[in-house]
Amino acid sequence: MKIVVAIKQVPERDAQVHIHSTSNWIEEEDMQWALNESDAYALEEALQLKEKHGGEVVVVSAGPERVGSTIREALAKGADRAIHIDCDDLNQRDALGVARLLSEAIRAETPDLTLTGLQSDDLGYGQTGVILAELLGLPHASLILHVEKTEAGLTVKRELEEGWFQTIELPVPAVLTIQSGGNKLRYATLMGIKKAKTKEIRRVTSQDIGKVAPPVVVLERISVPQKQKSTQILGGSPKEAATALVEKLKFEARIL
């Protein structure tokens, strides 16, 4: 089975974020970057499918030069090769624009299966995988925790709300968006890191891929949310704060 996994580099979870002076994106300088969380699960699912059924895992990522480090991480975990769509203006594109870039690279690979994460941790559109399926003319299923290959195609486990699930059967080729938690994630081994250095990363520029349609939806401005509710912050040393909290819960909230 040939599997393409779309992986996105996003700011590391605990990184400080500051709004850029243009006020429509964050300060990228000095930022620490990481592989998007649900994409790590998508990659894991792909690697496990390959271990079971053979085939190839290709990762594709659109972004500026810095995304190379995330691509190498995926190669070190076991992806076979990578496509890097070099593109400096991700944040000015809407979800359709990014999906168009990815779809052109993926179409040329004719994979049996394309996996994306469910949602990116920075922009959080939760759409790119579903749009990809539409652009590629393929069936899709979203919020997937587990994938099984069958005679006819795939049987997948989909998460519904409030602890409910459902299985879905669909033919291949198909696109799935992967939810976190379906598998245990692997770490890159030293051996893997070494091997990654010899693996192919093919670079294409976004211009190679085609004309950019102007975005339909524009991120105009970002801001820090205004506090709506006044939380009583209890200060002092940990011990003082803890004591003050217990007092409040006892005498003010009256729940202890």
């Binding site: 669909l170 970002i222 939380t231 011990k239």
Partner: protein, 337 residues
Amino acid sequence: MSGVWVVLEERNGRIARMSWEALAAGHTLGAQSSLSVNAVVAGAQTDSLAGEIATKAVARIVRLEHPLLAVYTSDAFTLALEQFIRAEQPDFVVFPHTYQVRDYAPSLAARFGQVLIGDVTGIGAGPVLHPTDKDPSVGTPVFVRQLMQGRLNGEYSHSGNGTCFVSVQSGAFRADQAESAPASIEIFTPKIEQAQIRTKPGQPFRGSAQTVDLGSAQFIVSVGRGIKEADNLPIVQELATALGAELAASRPICDNGWLPIERQVGSSGQTVSPKLYLAVGISGAIQHLVGMKGSQCVVAINKDSDAPIFEIADYGIVGDLFEVVPALTEAVKSAKH
């Protein structure tokens, strides 16, 4: 163009609460742009749903009906709504941001060369205030949605003349109470063939048997990724024991297998409403908040004073949980003596 159309969704035979919130968002848009507000509901049998909508303030109601819409599939729903939207050419199509909507609305919008503005928390009146704005066109709506897992807000505008697709976050708009004279109800029958439906969905089923009932717990200590490792869990367990509380968690803790999934609170886990919900090292992403915001009193312990959890917390301690939690356990113990 034919105004604002709100796509309402059914849950257990009735219009779901989030759909009424979407209708409220539709009214906000309608009022801003002086457009009529209309409702559409898709399914195999929608007469009673349409009846439910008829008492609300909507101009027209369309029952998008076809036997192949009995069970949700993205193919059938996308086809049905595509045909309806081509016929009606709405200015705005508004959805509740449910799991179902996230599964098909992005494809639907893409068929029109459009992009869903998803999970919107607020709608303001334009122009968008931006230093590089040259020609701010007054009256265009500004859509606010969360970025960076709720740490930032983004303001979005829609450009061009096509239909604007929007979905709204659970709890962001207050469900519409406005009632009016019964609206006209029409039926639209889309053309869908079985062969166009490529996926075969199975019956929904529940996860593993539930052995803890967080829903009725009075005290809950809930732990998030700030705990760093499974080996650190005993420090929150001790606090829970001192309080006589159940232990719960955010999703990553259960994803990692550190606590069983039945202890997960949030949109894909349990919904809880204890007297006290003590969130330890939890950032407060919307999918977590929807599961616990009904709690009587929320306490947050987090090292980041900007963490969104402080938006809904009554009391907060900004600090390192590895220092604060043991101190709190001691304080609770001595208070109980």
